[in-house]
């Protein structure tokens, strides 16, 4: 392939291009540009997957300058899985959003989505700590803009809280980068991997603490989860899906990358550190599920379920020493949850749009007139509960395997009880949906939604289940990652 068509570079250039064109076109042609653009991005990921499968890891020197002077972009199995998830979910969500916003699209929705995707792709591909800071800001500010869309008081309040949280998070990250540059004179992740040893000076430990804490704040891990439910629960359904399925995974991915890469020597020198994210994750699973069970608005239920499901991602840290199992479990969970949560939010969006009520009680009777959306919700629930053969099941299976191998049985208990709790909040919705609406029978049946609204949800949910059956190539990609 000619270097002009380098798929790695176009994964960043293409969304920037269509987002800028959508900005220029002032809210016209947005869906068309987005669908064409994301379609092209998906082709780029597929081309890149071929390269990664044959070479293991692909590097690209931005500017042509080697490190430490220049910025290296890297694609390996880990980044590739995240890129695949992102473009796949984004394409489906773009189809859904085109239909969902058929009457009126919130201002700037399409260009902000494009810039958000550009930031995420750039983040997954960057191997430079300062460049990663810029990508974090791209993602954070674009996501805040999407939350604010519509401009009602609830949206503005959610956007403000989200903005303050995300700015403190990236501020702490930037300060850590400053300390790292002062300590070593470089911000290249791969060079730092060999420079940072267990005898690192105090500044490096503080830098690690600040950067990782900042990323936890952006990932909304308990106790930093406070901004997530109003932001994800209050935004329009396509935005909620984008944020819950993908955006929080970006900062998790960076956390994991830093943990395995530059800061590996620190976490090995003090193994007890790994218990901190795991303990927070376990608390998040229990607390988030409890709040989801108690929620009275449907989208808040789904948002609190995200708080809980993010907890699983952090259970893997004490287990990473045991080989590829824990890493596979974490990334598979991120993927399966990404698909399932996108499905759940868009299904909930359709239920609310058609049913006219955002209460959990409002789904009563939905089984009769919205069977596809409800089935998608249930199927996504299967993944969240971790029932076979879903991706969530396989992820939990791998996690339990790794936990037993590492002699950490408490993680098994947490993982299993999280699944049970997820069952309670999913069945709470399903049970209501099969009940007759409490009101009178003479209410006219709501209008049928566009088929696309229902089937995109179904496709995402089916993906989250099928990924459990066809996970072998995915797991092989992750196993091949050399941190």
């Amino acid at each position: 392939m000619t270097p002009l068509l380098d798929p790695l570079a176009w994964l960043i250039l293409l969304p920037l291009l269509w987002a800028t064109l959508a900005f220029l076109a002032a809210d016209r042609h947005g869906p068309m540009l987005a669908l064409a653009g994301i379609g092209g991005q998906l082709l780029c990921v597929i081309a890149l997957a071929g390269d990664v499968a044959s070479h293991g890891s692909i590097g690209h020197l931005a500017g042509g300058w080697a490190e430490p002077l220049g910025i290296r972009l890297v694609a390996d199995g880990l980044s590739l899985v995240m890129l695949l998830l992102t473009q796949g979910v984004a394409l489906t969500l773009a189809l859904y959003a085109r239909s969902y916003f058929s009457q009126a699209t919130p201002p700037a929705f399409w260009p902000l989505t494009g810039f958000l995707l550009a930031g995420m792709n750039a983040l997954f591909l960057s191997g430079d700590l300062f460049n990663l800071y810029v990508t974090l800001e791209l993602v954070g500010l674009a996501a805040v803009g999407l939350v604010a869309a519509g401009g009602g008081a609830a949206q503005i309040a959610a956007a403000l809280r989200y903005l303050l949280a995300t700015l403190v998070g990236s501020g702490a990250y930037l300060f850590g980068v400053a300390l790292i540059y002062g300590s070593y004179g470089t911000v290249s992740a791969s060079l730092l991997g060999s420079l940072i040893t267990s005898e690192a000076p105090l500044a490096v430990w503080l830098a690690g603490g600040l950067m990782l804490t900042g990323l936890l704040l952006k990932t909304a891990l308990l106790p930093f989860h406070f901004w997530l439910p109003p932001a994800h629960g209050g935004a329009p359904a396509p935005v909620s899906a984008l944020l819950s399925a993908l955006v929080v995974k970006a900062s998790f991915y960076l956390f994991l990358r830093l943990w395995l890469g530059p800061f590996a020597a620190l976490s090995e020198a003090l193994p007890a550190l790994a218990q901190v994210p795991a303990a927070l994750g376990a608390t998040a699973i229990l607390w988030g599920s409890w709040r989801a069970i108690r929620a009275d608005r449907l989208k808040m239920l789904v948002a609190y379920s995200t708080v809980a499901q993010l907890g699983y991602l952090f259970l893997i840290f004490p287990l990473l020493g045991t080989g590829a199992l824990a890493l596979q479990a974490g990334i598979l969970q991120a993927t399966a949850h990404g698909l399932a949560k996108a499905a759940m939010f868009v299904a909930a969006g359709t239920l609310i749009k058609v049913g006219g009520s955002d209460r959990v009680l409002g789904v009563a009777g939905a089984a009769a007139h919205l069977p596809v959306s409800l089935f998608a919700f249930a199927l996504a629930g299967v993944t969240l509960m971790g029932l076979p053969p879903s991706g969530g099941f396989l992820a939990k299976w791998l996690l339990i395997d790794a936990a037993l191998a590492a002699g950490q049985p408490w993680i098994v208990v947490v993982a299993l009880s999280g699944g049970l709790l997820a069952g309670i909040y999913v069945f709470r919705v399903l049970r209501l949906a099969f009940r007759r609406p409490t009101t009178h029978d003479d209410v006219p049946l709501p209008q049928r939604p566009a088929a696309l609204l229902e089937w995109t949800a179904f496709a995402l949910a089916a993906g989250s289940v099928l990924i459990g059956l066809g996970a072998a190539p995915l797991l092989a990609l992750i196993a091949g990652v050399q941190p």
């Binding site: 300062f130 800071y133 810029v134 800001e137 500010l141 805040v144 803009g145 604010a148 401009g151 009602g152 008081a153 609830a154 503005i156 309040a157 956007a159 403000l160 809280r161 903005l163 303050l164 700015l167 403190v168 501020g171 702490a172 930037l174 300060f175 980068v177 400053a178 300390l179 540059y181 002062g182 004179g185 406070f226 901004w227 109003p230 709040r291």
Partner: protein
Amino acid sequence: MSAGLIYAATGCLLFVLGLGGVLLLKALLRRILAFNLMGSGAFLVLVGLAQRDGTPDPVPQAMVLTGIVVAVAATALALTLARRWHALTGREDIARVGDAGSRARRMANDRRKVGR
């Protein structure tokens, strides 16, 4: 003590001061100011620490130029949101998120204030 080290130490204190401001103050404009102090602190550490031996280093200087532009972008967005919030509710602060009960009460309050 070199000039670089003096300003790096100042930057550390400014960062913590700004962080405290964002976490502990109430008024939105004040918290936006505090965020800017946090950023300035990080910039001073980035350049000051790198230049603690007294030789200028263009790499962190260029990074700070990038950072200043990012900071003004974030500030502009934050101010727009704060003004919009004020226009909708007449309030200059936003309740800190505490326990669940207070959140529900606050959201009810927000809704009442907007009159929807």
